[in-house]
């Protein structure tokens, strides 16, 4: 069981699987009515791939990240399913094994960089702490490496002497990304890394992540509420709704031919910057309370195609949960309306 921690694991190719989630289910709370934040999701990430995971707040996307890092805080816990990293299940691993797995194999960039750095420690010292927790390395060498990595993300190496408050929001987010890169992990989980930033800074950072990915060859699990961002940036996109994955497809295909009504509604919630200015409707209603999710398809109370006039279909939609099925190569949809394999 120690293979996970081998430092020079055999190289994987793009067609292999780096991380695989099988039927991952996460609850908050125990007893009669726990809140099922993630309900049996399957997900797969290949080496060097950018997988976008999108959905609204409360859909469970951040919980997925917490489960992969095994940093869920009670009452959150994995109920069932497995998280396979290089084929090895990390659910139930001991804390000391996980400590090496985190940062070295999988690192994470949190939502608000403003709060992720220690305000009373110099940036360089935070690097040194993190690196020395994982490697036998002298302070001086760690600090030199920290400078190198900061330059990679476009920050002057002199900034190792700075305190977090002396940096702008965009720079702090870059520092966090640099820390995530420091031990050259194979997977970086980015949870809304640019949400608090301006569009121009956001664009700069995304371009940088793409360039770094080319150099370092890591894979990215990119979690965001902003699908429009993923359309440009991700290789594949998975859409989450109320704890389930409702659609997943290559980015270009999702952009051009979204099949799930929720995905369609989500894409139509972004007013365009060019073309005609038409009135949009968004998605009526609001996401369900996961303590008491709707029966059948969880989206049916908000779905424009769920109408009582088509009795058989309506009964299906309101009583039976649709399975996630492959309708075209690499394109999976969980919807009663989408049955046939197209093209």
């Amino acid at each position: 069981m120690k293979t996970l921690m081998v430092e020079s694991a055999p190289a994987l190719t793009r067609t292999d699987t780096l991380l695989e989630l099988r039927g991952l289910t996460v609850d908050y709370g125990h007893g009669e009515r726990p809140t099922r934040a993630v309900d049996g999701i399957d997900l797969r990430i290949s080496p060097g791939e950018i997988l976008g995971l999108a959905g609204e707040s409360g859909c469970g996307k951040t919980t997925v990240a917490g489960a992969v890092m095994q940093i869920l805080r009670p009452p959150g816990h994995v109920v069932s399913g497995s998280i396979l990293f290089r084929g090895e299940d990390i659910v139930g691993k001991k804390e000391n094994e996980l400590r090496r797995f985190r940062w070295r194999n999988v690192s994470m960039v949190f939502q608000s960089a403003m709060n992720a750095l220690n305000p009373v420690m110099r940036v360089g010292d935070q690097f040194v702490d993190m690196m020395r927790a994982h490697e036998k390395i002298s302070k001086r060498r760690a600090l030199a490496q920290a400078g190198d990595i900061l330059e990679f993300v476009g920050i002057d190496r002199k900034r190792v002497r700075s305190y977090p408050h002396e940096l702008s929001g965009g720079m702090r987010q870059r520092v966090i990304i640099a820390m995530a890169l420091a031990l050259k992990p194979e997977l970086i989980i980015m949870d809304e890394p640019t949400t608090a930033l301006d569009v121009v800074v956001q664009r700069e950072i995304l371009q940088q992540v793409e360039a770094l990915k080319e150099d370092f060859g890591f894979a990215v699990l990119f979690i965001t509420h902003d699908v429009s961002l993923l359309l440009e940036f991700a290789d594949r996109i998975a859409i989450m709704y109320a704890g389930e994955i409702v659609e997943s497809a290559p980015a270009a295909e999702l952009a051009e031919a979204p099949r799930h009504p929720y995905t369609q509604g989500l894409l139509e919630s972004f007013p365009p910057l060019s073309g005609p200015r038409t009135r949009l409707t968004g998605i009526p209603g609001f996401p369900p309370d996961l303590r008491d999710p709707p029966s059948g398809c969880r989206f049916h109370p908000r779905c424009p195609h769920c109408l009582p006039d088509t009795i058989d279909l309506y009964r299906l939609q309101t009583t039976e949960r649709p399975a996630l099925r492959e309708i075209a190569p690499g394109h999976l949809v969980a919807c009663h309306l989408v049955t046939e394999v197209t093209e």
């Binding site: 569009v199 121009v200 429009s228 989500l266």
Partner: protein
């Protein structure tokens, strides 16, 4: 179009930062002039720190301006001191804040939030307060109103909370609503609903909005006119469609390139990483504040502060290159 109910003239707000030995000044708002026309939505866009929220707060009388004036029906708002006059101004100009989680009192019901302004401003006779509160909740789409009125803020979703803020602002029957990033804390599928509500209020009640946002696409969706701010100054002003389809100022052009646009899909343009991260609003010297990031910069840009010049009919920019300055002007 009738006369502007609200006119902003050469408005400035400066803050001192640092200590007595190293004193600097942030020119958060500097020489900002514009008008809000009745029954229109004006978008005020810019990055964080550009001063856009400060403008909204100056207009709401939450801050006192360092210079310049805000004229409401011809009189200067900042000099209004008598409580009666302040109340009168507040009954005409209301503000909605970004964070619907922070701007409602967690121990009071929805009813309390909406009824309070009705009582303070004596909008309706006391006997009708309850009824009017329910009407307001219906106007903003919180139905069934009777049920919603009894709820506490924590029982509502973010979108519903923001609607309560809007209902509260509408209670005093204002003519102008200052909306400071009202959708940025909300989920994407909910945002359109709030924007549509603004459009509905504009059309049905002839309300005037100042919509402060960093989101260009939503500005295009709701606004008639747009003001683009950079480092405390308005760098471009004009009809929203004209500004966004054919921007004059290089900063507006940069913003447009950076925004993810579903219509462009995978064909987004790359942008140059900026070299300088210092804010151009701290102790500004003569010259254009965008000069360090500007691809078009010429010699004059770092010496002479450009003025906001109408290069096209009703479309103005603060740029030496794209909006040539009148020859007589100096710094």
């Amino acid at each position: 179009m009738s006369a502007a109910p609200l006119e902003v003239r050469e408005l400035s707000k400066r803050y001192a930062i640092g200590n007595t030995l190293r004193r600097s000044h942030v020119h958060a708002v500097d020489d900002v002039s514009f008008e809000l026309h009745p029954g229109t939505i004006t978008a005020l866009v810019g990055e964080s720190g550009s001063g856009k929220s400060t403008v909204a707060r100056l207009l709401a009388r939450l801050y006192a301006p360092s210079d310049g004036s805000v004229l409401f029906e011809g009189s200067d708002v900042a000099r209004v001191k008598r409580r009666r006059d302040v109340l009168r101004y507040r009954s005409q100009v209301q503000i909605i804040f970004q964070d619907p989680f922070d701007s409602l009192n967690p121990v009071k019901t929805v009813r309390h939030h909406v009824e309070r302004p009705l009582r303070i401003h004596r909008v309706v006779p006391r006997a009708q307060v309850k009824e009017r509160a329910l009407e307001l909740l219906e106007t903003v789409g919180l139905v069934p109103a009777v049920e919603v009125a009894q709820k506490y803020p924590h029982e509502l979703s973010g979108g519903q909370r923001q609607r309560v803020s809007i209902a509260r602002a509408l209670a005093v029957e204002p003519r102008i609503v200052l909306a400071d990033e009202p959708t940025s804390m909300l989920d994407v599928s909910i945002r359109i609903g709030i924007l549509n509500l603004m459009l509905k209020l504009k059309e049905e009640r002839d309300l005037t909005f100042l919509y402060v946002t960093h989101d260009l696409a939503s500005a295009r969706y709701v606004a008639d006119d747009i003001l683009v701010m950079y480092a405390g100054q308005i760098v471009e002003r004009g009809p929203v469609e004209q500004v966004l389809q054919d921007p004059l100022h290089p900063y507006t052009q940069l913003l447009l390139k950076a925004v993810p646009d579903p219509a462009k899909k995978l064909h987004a343009e790359r942008i140059e990483a900026r070299k300088s991260h210092a804010s151009a609003a701290i102790d500004p010297t003569a010259g254009c504040r965008f000069v360090d990031r500007c691809p078009l910069a010429i010699d004059i840009c770092s010496r002479v502060t450009p003025l906001l010049v109408e290069a096209r009919p009703s479309h103005a920019a603060r740029c030496h290159v794209t909006a040539p300055q009148p020859a007589t002007e100096r710094t």
